[in-house]
Symmetry: C2
Subunit: 410 residues, 2 copies
Amino acid sequence: MLTDKQLDKYAELAISVGINLQKGQPVVLRTDVQNAFFAEIVAKKAYELGASNVYTVWSNERIERVRVDNTKQDVLCNIPAYDAQMYQYFVDQGAGFVSILSSDPDNFEGCNSDKLTKYLLSARRSRQALMSATMSNKNRWTIVSVPSQKWAKKIFPDLETSVAVDKLWEAIAHAVRLECDDPVKAGEEHIATMDRRAEYMTKRNFEYIQFKSANGTDLKVGLAEGHIWTSAGEKAQDGVVFTANLPTEEIFTAPHKYKVEGIVKNALPLVDNGAVIDNFSLTFKDGKVVDFTAEKGYDALKGILTTDEGSTRIGEIALIGKKSPIAESGLLYYQTLFDENASCHLALGAAYPTTVEGGNDMNEQQADKIGLNASVVHVDFMIGTKDLEIVGIGFDGSKEQLFVDGEWVI
Amino acid sequence: MLTDKQLDKYAELAISVGINLQKGQPVVLRTDVQNAFFAEIVAKKAYELGASNVYTVWSNERIERVRVDNTKQDVLCNIPAYDAQMYQYFVDQGAGFVSILSSDPDNFEGCNSDKLTKYLLSARRSRQALMSATMSNKNRWTIVSVPSQKWAKKIFPDLETSVAVDKLWEAIAHAVRLECDDPVKAGEEHIATMDRRAEYMTKRNFEYIQFKSANGTDLKVGLAEGHIWTSAGEKAQDGVVFTANLPTEEIFTAPHKYKVEGIVKNALPLVDNGAVIDNFSLTFKDGKVVDFTAEKGYDALKGILTTDEGSTRIGEIALIGKKSPIAESGLLYYQTLFDENASCHLALGAAYPTTVEGGNDMNEQQADKIGLNASVVHVDFMIGTKDLEIVGIGFDGSKEQLFVDGEWVI
């Protein structure tokens, strides 16, 4: 467990570095009920830093499991209209969204996966206003994590629950630099470093990024026209910077939805809403997944890929060296927020309009033309093996080595 | 702490005796996040007994306190429309409502009471659909209690927290007869006994009920025309019986809003949304409070009385003998659900249309004519002293002694 002072600093990170709260702005906390104690600390901090109002949207994964198991599919998937209205209201109010994650990776283990997939899709559709607002940086948002007992035990199965929770707190604290004298300043400096790397990559304007690994990955990912490499230190539509993920180690941009060729294998399990998908491969032709295999979680992967047309294409490419503090911890977190920051990754589904020039002002046709993918899903999967080689290929055919043995060389 | 079996039985009481769930009916759980473990048990039981869907409306009194302290009044009182839409949806779906109470009686201690009162009024207005549906028994509903640490410590201030929580669990278990072999059957039998007493009182059709106590209470309460004495074993509009409160020991009916005369003093503190009001008196003339005093919580009492025209009149009269298990425990629970079942009480504010013949089909004028009070509030306060004498007075002036020394004599 962290000290009260560390918890307070963590809350400050979420509010000031995370959503970069502006005076008079409302805040929406989205969290499982088991994180109520931390939600209260964040709420107090938000007011201290000038929030006009703090709304909390509670959920509970355990009761959700009971609901998925016991509710008929058509009833379960019929999300009442007030839910969408609620999110629309928050978006319209210009709220900053803070999500506090603590999910048990096994929460939906053994569920009817078809029903679960359809339910999650319905819930995502209901939250469409939130998804659009965050993907386009209309509203500022951030995601932080808090250990739950189940999550901690999943990472440290041999430890006693309370010890496992403490260990996970330590790992989180290290990843977001809470041991520094001034974690907020340290966080800002870290983001500045990543910003410089992102700027360099944007200037180089590669046509393709090529991945090769001994595990069989051999993939060429075209980049969208006018793509911008971005660090998690992003700029919202109102010009205010914010940090969407804490911790964050990635720089990322938009791939070209029609220019992905080859095969890619995952380097870490993909945990999507409780389903674990592992040892899987995706084969791309003209940007589309034309074949896939999965030793574990085949149905869940199929569920993602059959969501809509855009879920068979990718919308994000992100680069992270293996020496990131999260990667160096050597832990598998079973949570995308951490695992994606330990490993290069791609995402099936929607691209961030913010990762191409003028992306937020494009209509569907214009976005499609430059290669920007659209979908109701956005599911990251990790491809960063320890031996990963990455090469940038320019429009003139010139090549630049970016990664050797899983780490940046530029 | 109760055993798993007792908890399961308690959940069954709430679902089968409480809302008397019918197959295919949805359930709405309303609870503080700290009761998540019990909410999960109730949700499982609801599905086991045939619920089509279980919604949970979470709240958290600690964050609510932070909000009330830190949000500007106009912002705080502006409850977004999705909240009212949510309750309307649940009502329209014919849901059964289960509230799980665990409030810290001191949660709002020291708050700006004017702001708090206005906020609570806004929140009540937003929940108007729920309030109308439950007051008129359109939807079936029940209230149960679960100990919280703060609540338990309030009742047992000298005990260690965990011991206090255990003690409160014991008291609750005793009050709802969980120690019986079959608590569901025991609950049903208990309600049948009260039903018989209520039937007798309805047949007698008293014009007035007169209260006298050595504490200064000397009050004549007229009863509404066509009043029906009711036990908490009520009948919903669809004819299905249910039990609105667990535990319950009261029989109650509608007073005549224009026929209350005299002075009444409280026998137990009134705890209204965190404010404790004690040693107070209300003086009635023609049914209206024309004077009031309060040694403690004067502002909170004033807040209730100035809510609307109806909050200065009474809408409920309830009779409970001092030998009810809750009264015999000798504890002050600082929670109306328990304390009202330990003591005769009245309620400022709205009457239950179900406590007069044809009440649900009356318009405003008709309800007014027979003496049925209307208000957005309904606040119970306890008047049952140990020496309380109660006399029923018929339309012919005949008198019947109902209570001697705080207990039924009929």
